[in-house]
């Protein structure tokens, strides 16, 4: 690609500037709602004199987050490590499985039933067994995360690899493309938006997977922190940990969404164009 060419392509895209105001408008509503809920919560706790071990006020949770920041940071780091490792492995296995399933018909018949069956076994049954098999360390958490998170990646990517216009395959064949070339040059790019959709689900599932893994048996992590704080009536600490988990999941989701926009500019712009034409 020539640099001049790509600059022109960018200039040719529908302008992004008017979106800033729309963005503000879209976030103002939800922000106001969250603010109202917090205010109501705070008011109710104060008005009815609810003890903090039963339901801590938002201000109590905030105070706890600040006071025990070192503790939270330590456990957040542990969970984040589990999530990134588990998600990484899930992504690699998911993409590899999807490619094999889409490319080899025999592999699809053999492997797909197992992929689907793996999702029907409740994680609360597998997780304790994993402790017996691989011990209390990082490994059982990684395995739980992988088992939960690889599935949406496989399913979405397989669908994406198959979502190719058959006419496009014919066109490629007349240009002399081999089956492998069709796969690499048409099927794989077609599947990327699907892969990103699967990844967005998977990364949120990864956080849940880490918590499940920690609940069953761990010595650190935000899931572990909630599990030990509740019996000790440290309810504000438990709320704080949950709050961080929610923030972590949301941040990771947004990071993937941002990456998608950067990696697939054609897809983003095409969809924006289509949306414009529909209005």
């Amino acid at each position: 690609m020539t640099t001049r060419g790509s600059a022109e392509a960018r200039r040719g895209l529908p302008a992004a500037r008017p979106r800033r105001r729309a963005w503000l408008g879209a976030w103002l509503g939800p922000a106001a709602l969250v603010g109202a809920i917090i205010a109501l919560w705070q008011g109710a706790v104060m008005a009815f004199g609810i003890p903090h071990w039963k339901l801590p006020a938002p201000s109590t949770i905030a105070a706890e987050l600040v006071a025990s920041r070192g503790l939270f940071l330590h456990h957040t780091w542990v969970t984040l490590k589990e999530v990134s490792l588990g998600f990484g492995v899930a992504l690699a296995t998911g993409v590899l499985l999807a490619a094999l399933i889409a490319y080899f018909r025999t592999f699809q018949r053999v492997a797909y039933p197992f992929v689907i069956a793996s999702q029907t076994i409740p994680m609360v049954v597998i997780a304790p067994l994993l402790l017996v098999w691989v011990g209390y360390g990082l490994a059982p958490k990684i395995i739980v995360i992988v088992l939960i998170a690889f599935f949406p990646i496989v399913v979405n990517t397989v669908d994406g690899l198959r979502a190719v216009d058959p006419d496009m395959v014919h066109m490629m064949r007349t240009l002399g493309a081999s089956r492998w070339q069709v796969f690499i040059k048409v099927q794989v790019p077609t599947s990327l938006p699907f892969l990103f959709s699967g990844t967005k689900i998977a990364i949120t599932f990864s956080v849940i997977g880490a918590v499940i893994g920690e609940w069953v048996g761990a010595s650190a992590g935000l899931g572990y922190l909630t599990s030990i704080s509740v019996p000790l009536f440290l309810t504000a600490r438990s709320f704080g940990a949950v709050l961080i988990l929610a923030a972590l999941g949301t941040a990771l989701f947004l990071a993937v969404a941002l990456l998608q926009r950067q990696a697939l500019p054609w897809h983003e712009a095409q969809q924006r164009r289509q949306a414009l034409e529909e209005t």
């Binding site: 690609m1 020539t2 001049r4 060419g5 790509s6 600059a7 022109e8 392509a9 040719g12 895209l13 216009d165 006419d167 496009m168 014919h170 066109m171 490629m172 064949r173 007349t174 240009l175 002399g176 493309a177 070339q181 040059k185 048409v186 790019p189 990327l192 697939l264 054609w266 897809h267 712009a269 095409q270 164009r273």
Partner: protein
Amino acid sequence: MPPTTRLESARAMVPKLELAGIRKQFSFAGKTLPVLEGVDLSVEEGEFVSVIGPSGCGKSTLLNIMAGLEEPDQGTLCMDGADAAGRLGKVGYMPQKDLLLPWRNVLDNTILGPELQGVSRSRARQQALGLMERFGLKGFEGHYPFLLSGGMRQRAALLRTVLAGRDVILLDEPFGALDALTRSRLQEWLLELWSGLGKTMVLVTHDVDEATLLSDRVYVLTARPGRVKMVMPVALPRPRTLDMVTQPAFLSLKASLMTALREEDLRAQEEPWR
């Protein structure tokens, strides 16, 4: 073949593309539908031939067979006098939809053919850049396809076909989805392009004006199952221009094509499930 000392002239006698007794039927839901019933067709080197016929007469199937995307049930297909069994990927083919890859800019879409054949991207790009002006795409090399007009997309698709470097180019209603003005502009442009490229072209269309204006010969197919109803040479002088379409010579050729086409269209209407 008898031995000959004048190999050159002997080669000139052999048609670039020769189809004989092509039959094809499709089966679905337990019924068989004959689509082509013994089509004979030949195209000389450097010739422009059009195939017209009522809708559903199998003209696109015929083109798919020439491209190698489908095989005939019966009949033979020769290229340069030899059996054309492995022709898929050796014949240029431009479908009605432009089928540009949405994640590649115009330049990288047009170099697909050379790229698939193992030519380095930078060399292929150099070659493509040299043709951008002639294809009216100069300044749009870096644009994604969805930013282009329908006419530009078709020109990009044709450049992709041309750059694949095949002697024969098959065009399946390439301008069918465009508005009338754009279509006639592109027809005139294709005329000029063809005379400069020296390629053999086979055009499938239902536009009689288009077939008459562009072609050396026009094949009219019957209603399904398709057979050759008539072959009409177009003895109009070249280079041709768009204003020829109102001249008497053009109009009389068009009239006889229209008559043949109407007859078949009526037959198709009367016997829709024939």
